[in-house]
Amino acid sequence: MSEAVKVAIIGSGPAGLSAASRAGQLGMSHILLEKTDHLSDTIFKYQKGKRVLATPERLDLRSDCRFAEGAREYILGNWDEDAANNKVQVAYHAEVAEVSGEKGAFAIKTTKGDVYTAENIVLAIGTQGNPNRMRCEGADLPHIIYQVDDPEDFKDRHITVVGSGDAGIENALGVAEEALENTVTILNRSKDFARAKAKNVADMMEAGENGLMSIRTETQPKKVEPGFLTLETPDGDETIPCDVIVARLGSVAPRGFVESMGIEFTGPDREAFPKLSPIFESTVPGIFVIGALAGYPLIKHCMNQGYDVVEFINGNSDLTPADEKDLAAIFEGLPKKKSVSEWLEYLRTRVSIFADVSPLQMREFMLDSKVAFYRKGDVVFEKGEPGSSLFAIADGFVEVEVGPGVIVPIEQGSIFGEVGLISGRKRGATIRAGADGIFVEVSRTAALKLMASVPGAKRAINRISLERQLLQIFKGGLTVDDLGPVVDTAEVERVPAGKIVLTEGEQGDDVYVIRSGSMVVEKDIGGKPIFLRYLPAGSFFGEMGVLSGAPRNATVKAAVGAELIKLTGESFRKMLAARPQVREATEAAVAERAQMNSFIESRKASYSSAVDLYSDTASFIMKEGLGEATDALLIDENLCVGCDNCEKACADSHEGLSRLDREAGKTFAHLHVPTSCRHCEHPHCMADCPPNVIHRGPDGEVFMEPGCIGCGNCMRNCPYGVIRMEAAPPQKPSLLRWLLTGFGPGPGEPSPKWTKKQLGDEKPKKIAVKCDMCKGIAGGPACVRACPTGAAIRVSPEEFLSIARLDEDTD
């Protein structure tokens, strides 16, 4: 056991390294424990030559280590020097396995069995976790690797990839590149590839059919030997030549390890973080958590926190946080003058959903929000606008225009805009300030983080959103009090895509409200399920059963993964009995739906093939994931002449890169869904963007603001494969010049060859590129405008599948 230090820092990423450097500068006794043999493993593992970006730009760096945008090698090189200059004490190969003791005398045990003692601990292990290791015989041989830095490192080898999640498939595809002449095998324990994205699976299957790799299902490794691998297959054991094994078996998130020290998290969700005090202290006194693990994935934040946390441990309590000036800017425009911490306290005490938020969380989340002063009568947002942010009323109140002439107030301390947040759909009503007031607008990401980390806030938002949704559906006529019993008995159900919620002919009287996602309604006509209707989030179904007591007259199933609110028939009936207007409104809705059903049935009788086509087209569209789209590009291949003018127009209106691939994608009955963003209701691509630059714009478009760091997370998260990582090509000669002299590559995306020739050795940084629906281009989507034949249109699924369409088709 070594001598006790004042602080032990676990993890040498940007956060841990910056902390250790501060300790070194202060002359504080410390030890930096790193499990690998180099500093900062996460960045070490970035692709070679990757440009590391220093966002957010406005934030000042406060650290004893240098950091500015640059190549990975340059940054790591600087840090090695800085660590030495700051006299940082590092212990490599020190993977911490267990922490015991308490503040003043922690005992930190590594996997090798060494024990370090420290008064305080700074935990900065990031979120990468540990890769799952192979477990069969020979699993410790050195030719088993757990990641592929550069596929080009492997040439003419026998490579076996174990694990067929996205990471495994991507690695296999990388090394299976024809020019590398590797013999690639990928193993999957089960029959299907449920864990990977459809696009990756399709690419892999194609590579398999083309003989670029062999895909072995229901097969696992049994024994590893140098040069050979024995497989356990359904037909018995088999030994294949194998020089390299790439094991991609997922990784264990560090949460379990963190919790084993007694540190509490804010909630059970995946998005939750450790509970922290304003000085980053966890629920275990003496253990501080910083960096990505604390919920701050950007390198600059990590480094600033490393500096700050050591200052705090050193007893410096006057340190103003580095984000102070940004927060001050946020509050600047307000009429009253208060200091930042006074404002934060003001908001915390006046808005109910902020009540349980810690001061540290409050700071963090105000950075992603905005506070504004509104005059009486100002419109906050209008009905039909897209928007997914949440508003909270700190002062004053607002008026909601529920129906024509029906105004409902929302009082101070409450929230509004939650429907957009939860369902991802357009605003349901216009909202005006009822008096001069101060409202906080919380971005979608910040609101989701808040809900994940503060259970009280989540409960409050969910309840309010359900009440409002019901009020919205039953337009006026209802008060929050009427809804009490209905809401109390309501349950939230998650249903996966394709799951049947109601079955035609079955008895039942529960009523469902779609909270997020969408549903399709089908009816069996002449022995074939016929598509009747697409139900977007915010609609309800099952009400016919309550009213008539008759069995379900159609089947309802989830078009995409969805969240439903189930209201019991019992409570719903009571509410209807108490409020005759609501009963009338419901009956009217039922009658309308019944009429539409019988319309389709009658058409089916006389125009069977047109109805079948409509129905099959609808199923195709749903299968292509358009059920969660808000706006998608559809090409009619009866009209498309293959000129690719759509792609060229897209490239020419966007830094020379096309955001759509016209030819790729599925086709049914000449209706083609090209590879292009669908602007999902709940964009998967937004889930994990470290600099948080993916947003939804005023037209409903999902776009990236400048600041992408090129990490590729969005590309991996998008299930439709529409994001590519690409660098903008250099400026082309003008169109006229090309037309007159043929100089330059002409309209559209220049060929990689031309770009390469222009750039020479320069390697510009690759960032995420996707359709932004031609945001900011007054004329609207260029792909549609530039199609000479009218083959390309942009639609929302509701519009496209409307009943009016069938009406026209069968006329």
């Binding site: 194609e206 059919e209 083309n210 003989g211 905005k370 504004a372 419109v379 906050v380 209008e382 606008e385 928007g387 942010s389 607008e441 971005s443 706006d631 559809l634 009619d636 291949e637 009866n638 009209l639 498309c640 002449v641 293959g642 000129c643 003018n645 127009a649 020419d652 209106s653 691939d661 030819e663 994608g665 599925k666 086709t667 000449h670 947003h695 714009g697 005023p698 037209d699 409903g700 037309l739 309209p747 281009i777 007054a778 004329g779 609207g780 989507p781 549609v784 405008r785 530039a786 199609c787 000479p788 034949t789 009218g790 083959a791 249109i793 942009r794 639609v795 496209f800 409307s802 369409r805």
Partner: protein, 293 residues
């Protein structure tokens, strides 16, 4: 958070401007708007030509002839501008579909405008050359409209969701398999297979491209040769023959794809150069008219 926090937004959003609920081709655009306009224009010309008495007789040099001539020349210049419009991605609102629709119908109206402009006085001179070129451009345009209306379906059916890259990749994959499967064959049988491997799917020239017939196809030849041959080991040969027939099918798909694409494009190589010839002849026609005035 660029736009998240804008307080007020314009109501008619840019995307709504190009929104359509269903596909509507350029020929039907806006309920045949340009067909109606163009038809009306032609009718007007035919009727007024009959009613207006020009002495001694209708010809290009009368005030009536000048009017039609000016309209016609302006129209030709505007029709030519489509080539620029198609490629210049300005940010304001326009629709190439609307342009194409107007192009086609107004272009057709030139048959009336141009011919009636001549007063039916045709001869062997530069004036008639301009008229003839115009008619040829229109004729080629007509062909274009016909292929635009009929071939896309065939293109879509033939490709069955495959992209051109994937078709090429499929052929390459068969080549790789052929390469290893042909190892056990006798030299006599190997030669045609090697020739098939060397075949460039794009080769064959313009005639083959347009007709879809490749009489010298090495893959087909290898298939024939190996099916007839008795020299190599039967099992290995059967395997190669099977692969060759699969490769032939893949080649056939790619060739059909290229054929349809060529048919959809080839006419533009007539339409556009003729347009420039027309503009040259038209200039000569106008200059000579004013010169001899």
């Amino acid at each position: 958070m660029a736009s998240l926090f804008q307080r007020r937004r314009s109501k008619a959003t840019q995307v709504e401007r190009v929104r359509e609920r269903r596909h509507e081709g350029f020929l039907r655009y806006a309920g045949f708007r340009w067909a109606k306009i163009s038809g009306g224009l032609c009718l007007l010309i035919i009727v007024s030509y009959a009613l207006i008495d020009v002495t001694p007789r209708h010809n290009g040099g009368s005030w009536y002839g000048y009017t039609l001539g000016t309209i016609g020349a302006a129209l030709i210049l505007w029709l030519t501008a489509l080539g620029y419009r198609k490629r210049k991605m300005t940010r304001d609102h326009w629709s190439l579909k609307a342009w194409t629709s107007a192009h086609v119908y107004l272009g057709l109206s030139l048959i009336i405008i141009g011919t009636w402009h001549t007063g039916f006085q045709l001869g062997w001179n530069v004036h008639t050359l301009a008229w003839a070129l115009m008619m040829l451009v229109i004729l080629s345009g007509l062909y274009g409209v016909i292929v635009y209306a009929t071939l896309p379906q065939a293109l879509s059916n033939n490709r069955e969701q495959m992209t051109q890259m994937q078709m090429l990749e499929a052929i390459r994959a068969f080549d790789r398999q052929l390469h290893s499967a042909a190892q056990p064959l006798t030299p006599e049988d190997t030669a045609p297979v090697l020739a098939a491997l060397d075949e460039d799917p794009f080769a064959g020239g313009i005639a083959a491209r347009l007709s879809g017939r490749y009489p010298n196809c090495a893959t087909a030849a290898a298939y024939r040769a190996l099916s007839a041959s008795r020299s190599s080991d039967a099992e290995a040969r059967t395997k190669v023959v099977g692969l060759l027939s699969q490769k032939e099918a893949a080649l056939a798909r790619l060739r059909e794809h290229l054929r349809i694409r060529a048919l959809l494009e080839i006419w533009l190589y007539v339409h556009v150069p003729l347009t420039f010839a027309l503009i040259a002849a038209l200039s000569a026609h106008i200059v000579s008219v004013f010169f001899y005035w």
